[in-house]
Symmetry: C2
Subunit: 354 residues, 2 copies
């Protein structure tokens, strides 16, 4: 899978640079946004839009949403090279949500450097993050692959539906952070992941299906595959946060016990509270609800989670979801290579180490 | 015009409540967002979405974007009552931008109460503001007026184009706040207004034209009317900030010299710098660039603006734009009542006192 990711990356970044060039000038602005009524200020737009967007993209990111889209397109029998522009849609949307999430969570670090709002100011960061919700949607209007009107409409309707659910998931998640009690059920937690992380993955799969004109049941099946994989990915994230923190219990840095400090209600926390004896469960609740935690308190919370067997439980759930995702793929009539690549994605999301 | 605004308000608020009910339950969530894969948490969504949204709407706002849309629909010969759901699109988009702008500007007060991010936290406020960019777009998919596919596609394409330009305008504006020198030209300032404020007004006009199937030249003419009116409105806003501050020069409250404190590059400021003698122009630049200003410094900046005749200049420009907006309307073949209402809007935006 590493090869597939590396192979496509230059073409994807080139397509993103067609959408938002590294150097902004008046000609680009007129061609993409329409003629100005008076006069654009390309220099301001360079600094407000292009520079922060490329700063984030150049820090890394595997572009796996774009690549997964191209794997689907190829699996559906079309030439992926003809659809690279469309691959930017989920990729830019995703990077936009990252910028906005970092403002919402008051994150300090993103991809090893200062979060965008700490480099450019909160106003610029938010505006570029929000612009990235609409810039890629214009690709459907530009229509580089000459799609018929009904497919463009179907794509817009799908995007609007999924982006609405994304905000529903994010709403549940941040609302829970602000609550003192962990009262969330496992099903509510999984729904939050299905909305928040799952919908962007569903966009990847459904966009590929709509653009290549697949029947509804195929679109639904790849959407389920993408959602299951994304939920497994999210659980993998929560596991990594605890594992990394346990691994460096002596090295009390910034990344130590992040999720606990934020009061995040993860699958591990929900399980640990259900499975621990009442006194330890109450203690974990209290540590999560606290305004701040000492490093010793973080270590204590981590120990409660570890002792409850929550890491093993979460890992099993993630593996189960990934297995169900593979079943969805196996039911479809993809060629062996596509099936293998789609299987590899479900493994990657769980076995990654960062 | 007051009567038109008052007449429609209950129907508009009812349509908004169909989209986002005041009380969220699982049935609404399943019908609007689709069946959950696992289980929604209606209580969290109540607190993350519905409560803050209705808090803002219940504080007031004239719903003039929704009403202007209905005036156009009636002028185009259709029954406005059949299109009230669509009238919510620009109204909710506008209120969403207000929430996000207040976070970007670190505003403290909105409609006489604490800004939403100060009541609910920045994370909840941002998420509800962003959700309001996508919730209303779903109305086109729900399709209450049974529009044919090509009109729905045209509406989506128009919305995406205009929302992209909105973020371009906002990007220019906030970037200029962060600059020390006022180097903006009058045309760049007017473009920023045309993008930032104008595009939401253009959505009002173009949506009415698209939905009622008007020819392209009619859509373009009402869009120009809306943009001209919106730019006049924005200049009116800048004038009011200076007038209010001059009027209460003794009453050094929060609202005194807001725009100057923010370092906003308004039409008045651009004019004052051009027209004042070099020493006073430099002094105004310096006061705008300062991290903070004493009340005496604000009074000094206001005096430079007043002495340069910038209030009269800005008022003339706004009146000129409003007159051009009326010419656009007069060229179209609206009935006398619609023409009168559209004229009244161009007067309202300049003559209002708050």
């Amino acid at each position: 899978m590493r090869e597939t990711l590396a192979e496509w990356r230059p073409a994807i970044d080139e397509a993103i640079a067609d959408l938002v060039p590294r150097e902004i000038d008046a000609d680009y602005l007129a061609s993409f946004f329409g003629d100005p009524t008076y006069e654009y200020d390309p220099d301001a737009i360079q600094r407000a839009l292009s520079t922060p967007l490329w700063d984030l993209l150049d820090r890394g990111g595997k572009r796996w949403r774009a690549v997964l889209f191209l794997v689907f397109v190829e699996g559906f029998g079309e030439d992926p090279a003809a659809y690279v522009d469309y691959a930017c849609i989920p990729e830019i949307l995703h990077n936009g949500t990252i910028i906005v999430d970092d403002v919402e969570d008051e994150a300090t670090i993103r991809r090893g450097e200062r979060a965008l709002h700490r480099v450019y100011g909160r106003d610029i960061a938010l505006n570029v993050g929000n612009a990235m919700y609409f810039l890629p949607l214009k690709i459907l209007t530009e229509n580089p692959a000459d799609l018929p009107a009904e497919r463009r409409l179907a794509a817009y309707e799908m995007l609007v539906a999924e982006l609405n659910r994304t905000h529903l998931g994010q709403g549940m998640d941040i609302r829970w952070h602000n609550e003192d009690d962990v009262r969330v059920t496992t099903d509510e937690y999984l729904e939050m992941c299905a909305c928040k992380t799952g919908c962007l993955a569903r966009i990847v799969a459904r966009l590929a299906a709509i653009i290549t004109d697949q029947p509804d049941d195929v679109e639904a099946a790849v959407a389920r595959y993408a959602e299951l994989t994304a939920v497994a990915f999210q659980i993998g994230d929560d596991i990594l946060d605890v594992e990394h923190s346990l691994g460096r219990a002596g090295d009390f840095g910034k990344a130590f016990g992040n999720d606990i400090r934020e009061g995040k209600q993860t699958l591990l926390v929900i399980h640990a509270i259900q499975e621990s004896d009442p006194e330890r469960a109450r203690r974990l609740q209290k540590l999560l609800a606290a305004e701040s935690n000492t490093d010793a308190e973080i270590a204590e919370a981590l120990a409660i989670i570890e002792d409850a067997g929550s890491l093993e439980y979460a890992r099993e759930r993630a593996l189960e979801l990934a297995a169900r995702a593979r079943v969805e793929v196996d039911r479809l009539e993809f060629d062996a290579e596509t099936t293998q690549k789609l299987h590899a994605f479900t493994e990657f999301v769980i076995e990654r180490e960062e």
